[in-house]
């Protein structure tokens, strides 16, 4: 199938190096300590953060650092056909783990010993790249909760179809069977905290694709910072400073 036509447009009208439209909102769940929703095109996720708070299960408590927990789930209505999803299936367990590890790498856990941070992410609408969207939403929510972090983690995916590296695959491109590289970075520190790929790619092509994904992460980062800044400004106004 033709995923990039000779005019250089993808099926949805983007060019290979373009991302889908980003949209984010902070403070969507007022009960949580921090929350955000994040959209990449038709992929929409919501994240809520509780903590740092007392560890619920005493046996898990650590004396030198905070415990980070993460739960990923997909809403039953997130894909077109309504399907009852069992909680804790392999896929969501894996993604929960991936998100937890990525976030743990940037939270300054040693500042909050004997405490626990819970991150809940839920996919409201799935159209490819859910794990990237979840990480971006979780970053925003953590920032909203005021949890100390080394840097903002941002994530983006890239793929390789029709001999062209493509940024930010949607569901149609994702299920084409090509490689799908998901990258998470700490943009200020220029460090990679997450790198996943299914399928195979030759080394030189992989490097190009990964580079593209990193560029995508940086673009997401600048957007997230803009949103945070805007949010802070509104808070300022509310406080009447």
């Amino acid at each position: 199938m033709e995923y990039v036509n000779p005019e250089g447009l993808r099926l949805d009208g983007r060019r290979p190096m373009e991302m889908r439209q980003l949209r984010a909102e902070i403070g969507v769940v007022s009960r949580a300590d921090g929350s955000a929703s994040f959209e990449m095109g038709n992929t929409k996720v919501i994240a809520a953060v509780y903590g740092p708070r007392e560890v619920q299960n005493r046996s898990q408590q650590m004396n030198d650092q905070a415990l980070v927990r993460c739960e990923y789930s997909m809403a039953n209505f997130s894909t077109g056909d309504r399907r009852r999803k069992t909680k804790g299936d392999r896929r969501s367990t894996e993604i929960s783990l991936v998100i937890r590890q990525t976030m743990e790498a940037c939270i300054l856990t040693n500042l909050m010993p004997r405490s626990q941070i819970d991150i809940y992410v839920q996919v409201l609408q799935a159209d490819g790249g859910t794990r990237s969207a979840c990480i971006n939403a979780a970053t925003l929510a953590l920032a909203d909760a005021g949890i100390p972090m080394r840097d903002l983690v941002t994530s983006c995916s890239a793929g390789y179809l029709n001999s062209t590296p493509l940024l930010d695959l949607n569901y149609l491109e994702d299920s084409a069977g090509g490689a799908d590289v998901t990258v998470g970075i700490l943009p200020k520190l220029d460090k990679v905290t997450l790198l996943q790929m299914d399928a195979k790619l030759p080394m030189d092509i992989f490097e190009n694709v990964m580079q593209l994904a990193v560029e995508g992460c940086k673009a997401v980062d600048s957007y997230i910072r803009e949103i945070l800044l805007e949010n802070t400004k509104t808070l300022e106004i509310h406080r009447g400073v």
Binding site: P6, E7, L9, D12, G13, Q21, G41, G80
Partner: protein
């Protein structure tokens, strides 16, 4: 700008789901017009970027915007250079893609052709030309509206600078366009305004305007009736297929009898035969059709009808076939005997066509008198050169021009009322009978790409002059074998030498024998344009007067060719053999060799025969020959068949390229010697690659012939009192050896007839079949592949890669992990291989005709088949076969009777009789029954 597109789709399980997709609208899609006034400049970055503009830079040329129906119907016209400066909208492209992928590919080719001014405008993603479907609007209407909107946008965008013309044959669309202030025209009016009358022939006439055609039909009221049954609607076909009432398959028309077709059906697991034009019901060769089986009692009587039908068709003299695939399918006439009334094969009729395989056909117009009013429209019947296709009715305004020409015609439609399909003229190739024209026809008919290699392909070649570098010599994967006394033996004048041999006596009395094959894969890397091109071409094609290479000439004739006295890279198979030709060890390596002699078969043979010569090369050759004879004998003992074919060789005049002489190709011991070692190398490589890659090795198999296929051979043998045992290849080989008549040619003739009953060997991917099916029947080998001619066959290139990977030299390219891809590659190789053979045969036939045009000859011929009004003879000297009629055409026998059992034809008074395999003297002469249509005629002397 973001829009979302929602639509419903039915999944494979039959569920309906709603899909929502994003649809981005952009402002960076440009008009593609070089003189655009709103172009991008330093102070206007919102304007059009004209660097990629493809349309004409003169504002006086009209910009054409095409409607979908115009593209779908008039693609032949669009391919004519007169149609240019065209804007192709993306909505049109996607509609065309959904309706007809072949037309889509041709349109895409036009858009990417740098000589043509076709510009793709992505109107669906342009912010100003995108239209959303209105409530209740059909997709078709929406698309028409999108086309109008885009045309309007072009008009407004360019202002008065240029004229934009919407071309549509949809009356409604045209009316609306004019209402909206867009200039619109039908294709006929536009072409007429160009003032080139020959272009009008290219226009496909819409069926509704076929009034004049009906007038012609009215002149023959008897014909003005429904000739064919109606095709069933698709819904009925689908349900019929589901319930098992109908059967689906690809229709194959008998190459020698257009009124007989076969449909290979998976649901029955057998071929369904379809007899007669009415039952074939307007299906073409290659169409996917739905077939209904006839009741069993009708399976028989159809057969005799078809036979009667067949007699009307005249048979031409043609080259003697080499395998069952080339030969006419023989109907089991023996079955007419009363004890065998149970018909063995199902018969059916076509009730619907699921997918058409219409393309364009090569041929000429049926001769006809010029109509009175010259210059006007005339109707003519086009006769395809390939007899599998029916005549096609076309309209032309240049009848006088076309009558003596080979032309290409495309089919447009075929309704129930007309006997023949309607089509239109596409282009002229040249004069009938002209050698270049006829050669081009041969190439087109066999789908052979004879175009020069593209610049991208040539860019993959190493720089010339090329020589072995020190890097190659020091490369650890490459062994330096330059010290060996290597020589090659090939046909005289061979420039693409891909194999060479050496033979060295070892101190222990054994021999080291090496087969060195040109290392083509060192230059052809997977995934390069060069590799893609070679894999598409599949094989080199050898015509009588020219060769169409698979690889560009520098590779074929220089860099890869193992010429004498130059260092060349090779892939070697080296054996240690005892003097009894037992293989002790085999090793494979990449190497550097330096051939010390490039001999021809004649030279090699002369050297071996001349007992005075004792130079090292000659003694090597003698040793090789000794080993080869033992290996050959062993192979024959295993049951390999010695088959025979009637290959002929032309001597061509170097200046006029006319054939000077024609004769049987002589096979010498030297040929057999080379053949033996090539077979051994191929078998050795097949074993090695299958061991390492049991699922993705490319092998070659030759299926055992079925009893049915050997039937004609057995019948002929029986008639001359010979009994053949066909239970196994060994038994057949033995009984062929025993078949010795009183004349020396008898044995060869029987072998030729046996060869004809076999199918051809085919390439396959080892994962697709089970090991017992790998068998090569003709060579009596459990495994076989092609390794020894990588310059001229792509299969060998693949095998080289596999072998290199099995030795750990290179990594296995990614394709080999993709089974369906691999299968499609091997299918393509089989197709190309077969076409290349057909083309060579057609080229030989053409030259035979040219040769005999000036030289009527008397010669000896052998009868190979008896017909009711004559017999088919085979002329051994020229390798051709053709009919000799005893009774004039149209006269239904009478004087002559045929004895089926003894295969004899007798005169009623018993004075003369001819039996199968008998010798007759015939006269060969080229006659022209119709002007410009020469054919070879055989008559009894």
């Amino acid at each position: 700008m973001l829009k979302s597109k929602a639509f419903s789709r039915q999944t494979r399980q039959g569920k309906v789901v709603k899909e929502v997709r994003e649809h981005y609208l952009r402002d960076d899609i440009y008009c593609g017009v070089p003189y655009c006034y709103n172009k991008k400049t330093e102070d206007n970055d919102k304007g059009c970027d004209i660097s990629s503009a493809r349309l004409s830079d003169s504002p006086s040329t009209t910009i054409l915007v095409l409607d979908t129906n115009v593209v779908l119907n008039q693609i032949d016209l669009l391919e004519n250079p007169a149609m240019d400066n065209v804007v192709v909208l993306s909505v049109v492209l996607s509609e065309v893609k959904n309706k007809n992928i072949a037309v889509y590919n041709r349109l895409r080719a036009l858009c990417s052709n740098s000589l043509r001014k076709f510009y793709v405008f992505s109107n669906e993603h342009h912010k100003d030309t995108y239209v959303t479907a209105m409530a209740g609007e059909s997709p078709n209407d929406r698309n028409d509206r999108a086309i109008r909107k885009a045309a309007k946008w072009y008009q407004d965008h360019l202002g008065d600078a240029a004229s934009v013309l919407l071309i549509t044959n949809d009356r409604e669309n045209k009316k609306k366009a004019i209402e909206e202030g867009i200039s619109a025209e039908t294709i006929e009016c536009y072409v007429k305004s160009l003032g080139q009358p020959e272009l009008l022939d290219l226009i496909v006439q819409p069926p509704s305007e076929d009034v004049i055609m009906d007038d012609v039909e009215d002149l023959r009221p008897s014909k003005r009736k429904v000739i064919y049954n109606e095709h069933k609607p698709m819904s009925e076909i689908t349900s019929g297929l589901l319930r098992g009432l109908l059967h689906q398959g690809k229709l194959r028309v008998n190459r020698f009898n257009p009124f007989e077709a076969y449909v290979g059906s998976e649901s029955i697991g057998d071929e369904i035969i379809i007899y007669g034009r009415a039952n074939i019901n307007r299906a073409f060769d290659g169409d996917i059709v739905a077939v209904e089986l006839l009741p069993q009692e009708q399976w028989h009587e159809e057969k005799s009808l078809a036979l009667a039908d067949e007699e009307d068709e005249e048979e031409d003299v043609h080259l003697a076939p080499n395998s069952a695939d080339d030969a006419p399918r023989v109907m089991n006439q023996g079955q007419t005997a009363p004890e065998e009334t149970k018909p063995s094969r199902p018969t059916g009729r076509v009730v619907g066509i699921i997918k058409r395989n219409w393309h364009s056909y090569c041929g000429s117009l049926e001769p006809m008198p010029m109509p009175a009013g010259d210059g006007g429209r005339a109707h003519a019947l086009f006769v395809s050169k390939d007899r599998r296709f029916p005549k096609i009715r076309i309209q032309t305004r240049q009848l006088g021009n076309l009558l003596d020409k080979r032309i290409i015609v495309a089919v447009d439609s075929w309704d129930r009322l007309s006997r023949f399909p309607t089509g239109h003229y596409v282009r002229t190739i040249g004069e009938i009978g002209d050698r270049d024209t006829e050669t081009e026809v041969v190439l087109i008919e066999n789908d052979i790409d004879a175009r020069p290699f593209s610049a991208q392909v040539l860019a993959c070649l190493p720089p010339l002059p090329w020589s072995v570098s020190s890097q190659d010599l020091t490369n650890p994967i490459r062994q330096d074998l330059r010290h060996l006394r290597v020589c090659s033996v090939d046909p005289p004048g061979c420039k693409d030498i891909d194999d060479a041999l050496h033979c060295m006596p070892l101190p222990n009395g054994n021999f080291e024998v090496g087969v060195h094959i040109a290392d083509v894969t060192n230059f052809v890397h997977p995934g390069t344009p060069l590799d893609d091109e070679a894999s598409q071409r599949g094989t080199s094609v050898y015509l009588v007067e020219r060769r169409i290479d698979m690889l560009p000439k520098p590779l074929t004739e220089d860099i890869c060719s193992l010429r004498s006295d130059v260092e060349r890279l090779a892939f070697s198979v080296i054996w240690e053999m005892t003097p009894d030709a037992e293989i002790i060890s085999t090793r494979y390596t990449k190497s550097v060799i330096k051939s010390c002699a490039a001999l021809s078969y004649v030279e090699a043979q002369a050297r071996m025969d001349d007992s005075r010569l004792v130079d090292p090369i000659t003694s090597d050759l003698r040793n090789l020959n000794k080993l080869a004879k033992i290996m050959r004998q062993r192979r024959i003992d295993r049951g390999a068949l010695t088959l025979a074919s009637a290959e002929v060789k032309f001597q061509i005049d170097t200046e006029t390229h006319d054939p000077l002489d024609i004769g049987m190709y002589q096979i010498r011991e030297a040929n057999q010697m080379i053949e033996e070692f090539m077979l051994a190398a191929n078998v050795a490589v097949a074993e090695q690659i299958l061991k390492h890659f049991p699922l993705c090795a490319l092998l070659r198999r030759h299926p055992s012939p079925t009893k049915e296929m050997l039937e004609p051979l057995l019948r002929t043998a029986e008639a001359v009192g010979l009994s053949l045992d066909v239970t196994s290849s060994k038994a057949l080989a033995d009984s062929l050896d025993r078949a010795k008549g009183d004349d020396p040619y008898f044995n060869k003739l029987i072998r030729i007839l046996a060869t004809r009953c076999m199918t051809q060997a085919v390439y396959f991917c080892s994962g697709d079949l089970s090991p017992p099916e790998y068998l090569h029947y003709g060579l009596a080998s459990l495994l076989y592949t092609h390794f020894t001619s990588p310059i001229r066959r792509y299969a060998d290139v693949i095998v080289h890669r596999l072998l290199a990977a099995s030795l750990g030299i290179y990594k296995l390219p990614g394709v080999f992990q993709d089974r369906p891809k691999l299968t499609s590659i091997s299918d393509n190789l089989n197709y190309r291989h077969r076409n290349a053979q057909m083309a060579s045969r057609a080229s030989v036939e053409l030259h035979t005709l040219i040769f005999f045009r000036k030289r009527p000859t008397d010669t000896e011929a052998r009868i190979v088949k008896i017909r009711s009004n004559g017999f088919i003879v085979f002329v051994p000297k020229y390798g051709i076969e053709g009919p000799v009629y005893l009774t004039p055409k149209g006269d239904k026998g009478g004087e002559w009777t045929v004895d089926e059992k003894q295969q004899k034809i007798r005169k009623l008074d018993g004075s003369v009789s001819y039996g199968v395999l008998g010798t007759v003297r015939i006269h060969m002469e080229v006659v022209e029954p119709q002007p410009n249509r020469p054919k070879l005629q055989l008559t009894l002397v």
